[in-house]
Amino acid sequence: MSHRDTLQALADARPRSLDPSGRPDPALIMAQPRPESTTRTARRPVRPLVLAGALPAVALAAAGAILLNNASGPRAPLVQPAVSSPAPVDVPADAGGLLLVAAEQSESAPAAAGRYWVVRAEHGEGTRRVQDERWLAAAPDLPSAAYVRDADGGSWTSRPMQGHTAENNFLLAGTPRSARELATLPTTPAKLKDKLLAWYADTGATEGRDQFLFYSGAALVLDLPVSPQVRAAAYRMLAAMPWVTSLGRVTDQLGRPGVAVTVTRQGDFGKAQTRLIIDPTTGQALAQETWVADSPASWTAVIAARWSDDGLPQASALR
């Protein structure tokens, strides 16, 4: 095959998924403020190409941004304008307080184990929504599988998850962990944090330590198979992080009421906010959402997470 033919064959093999399913209205972008001139702000060193994307402080304040370096301590819940809020008053206003409530509630859940950790969730990104149910092997020599369907219902399609075993099935802040590693996590917040930081050092991740701890803690409470004690320890670890702030009462993308805590990443252009939404009455984490420019960009809402000792079901058996 000649070089030219190779490039032509590659061009012919272009995947269809490179084509966008739609084109959002550019008015959303043009609604953002445009600087009169591209003068440099002295606030932070940033690379020249993306410099002008840095949001002026005024725009951040107007957008209701919550910055990572906000002081901790009690404050009024900051409810985003788009969110309706029935307002019972029994939830602490500050992130630390409500995470501690969640810790206490979740600690009383019964412990369990099984051959499969089964998580049903709905994922959204832009206008696309899909539901999946993942059967993640937690015992040796078992295959794993995922089942997907349209978020509006319909029948399930089975997708084998090749290479997924109890040794690597569980993603914690971007790195795969085994069922055994999760089962042996410490149950006190300080020791849990030490363990996570040891993993952080191992991964050589370039992101900040604080980000890593938040994402790890969120994963532990949201959809990883850990004991109620580890889950409570993760909540307490998050509660001790001053850069985690409260949004008060919110509704997740499935319409379920909860309370949200959040971290905001300030990139060189704009901010991305990650929300962890919790049902304060059960301590169960409901969803994790990424918000960009005050609208949800992508999200995962956990519908159910449970243990099973059954074998992999047929897709047609799922309801």
């Binding site: 070089h3 190779t6 490039l7 032509q8 064959a9 590659l10 012919d12 093999a13 272009r14 995947p15 269809r16 998924s17 490179l18 084509d19 966008p20 084109r23 959002p24 550019p26 959303l28 972008i29 043009m30 953002q32 445009r34 600087p35 591209t38 690379r47 190409l49 993306v50 002008a52 994307g53 990104e125 999946d132 993942r134 997907v148 998850m161 090749q162 290479g163 997924h164 690597n168 099935n169 569980f170 993603l171 802040a173 971007g174 790195t175 795969p176 991964t203 991740a205 370039t206 992101e207 990443r265 990139g267 060189d268 252009f269 704009g270 991305a272 960009v292 420019a293 960009a297 992508s298």
Partner: protein, 181 residues
């Protein structure tokens, strides 16, 4: 300058290049992150409208490249990309049109290449960029890009000829929602 003028210029830019920026974002970070990358890229373009050169596409893709690198944790991007690359092969396999085996083999070979190789090849074959334009995107000289493209093409051909022994579904290392959507 009137207010209408930047709006019109931006709208034209957006409609002309949205699909290309999206395609680049998918090929670099996976479709899961692509919408975010595209939105951020055009937000930068909106704010720097006066700085955009006459041939905007290489500039836009260069911004997208920086957006991806600056904004996402590397493990998140790699997980998204790994999922994407597997999905390409799986979707090509599932296709029932002619020439499917070759397409799937090509995409599997591409998935096995290093990121720089894949970028050089896809900017050329999928974005249709000249070596000069692609060099602007990746930030090197045109001569350097030619060398990179040449080497990448040779490695792709090698991977294609090795394909019989290549496991098309190697064990994955980052299990984040690994099904092929």
């Amino acid at each position: 300058m009137t207010h209408a003028e930047p709006n019109e210029r931006f709208t034209a830019l957006y409609h002309a290049h949205h699909a290309q920026v999206y395609a680049y974002a998918v090929s670099r970070a996976g479709r899961k992150l692509a919408d975010d990358v595209v939105a951020d890229t055009f937000l930068v373009a909106w704010r720097r409208l006066d700085a955009i050169p006459a041939a905007p596409l290489p500039w836009l893709l260069g911004v997208a490249r920086n957006v991806i690198r600056e904004r996402y944790r590397d493990d998140i991007r790699q997980a998204g990309l790994a999922t994407e690359l597997r999905a390409w092969v799986a979707e090509a396999d599932a296709d029932i049109a002619d020439g499917v085996a070759e397409r799937a083999a090509m995409l599997a070979a591409l998935a096995g290449l290093g990121e720089d190789d894949r970028e050089a090849l896809t900017l050329t074959a999928w974005q249709g960029l000249s070596a000069k334009a692609a060099a602007r995107v990746v930030g090197c000289s045109t001569a350097t890009f030619f060398v990179r493209l040449h080497r990448a093409r040779k490695r792709l051909e090698q991977a294609m000829s090795d394909a019989v022994t290549v496991d098309r579904h190697p064990p994955v290392r980052i299990p984040d929602q690994e099904y092929a959507r």
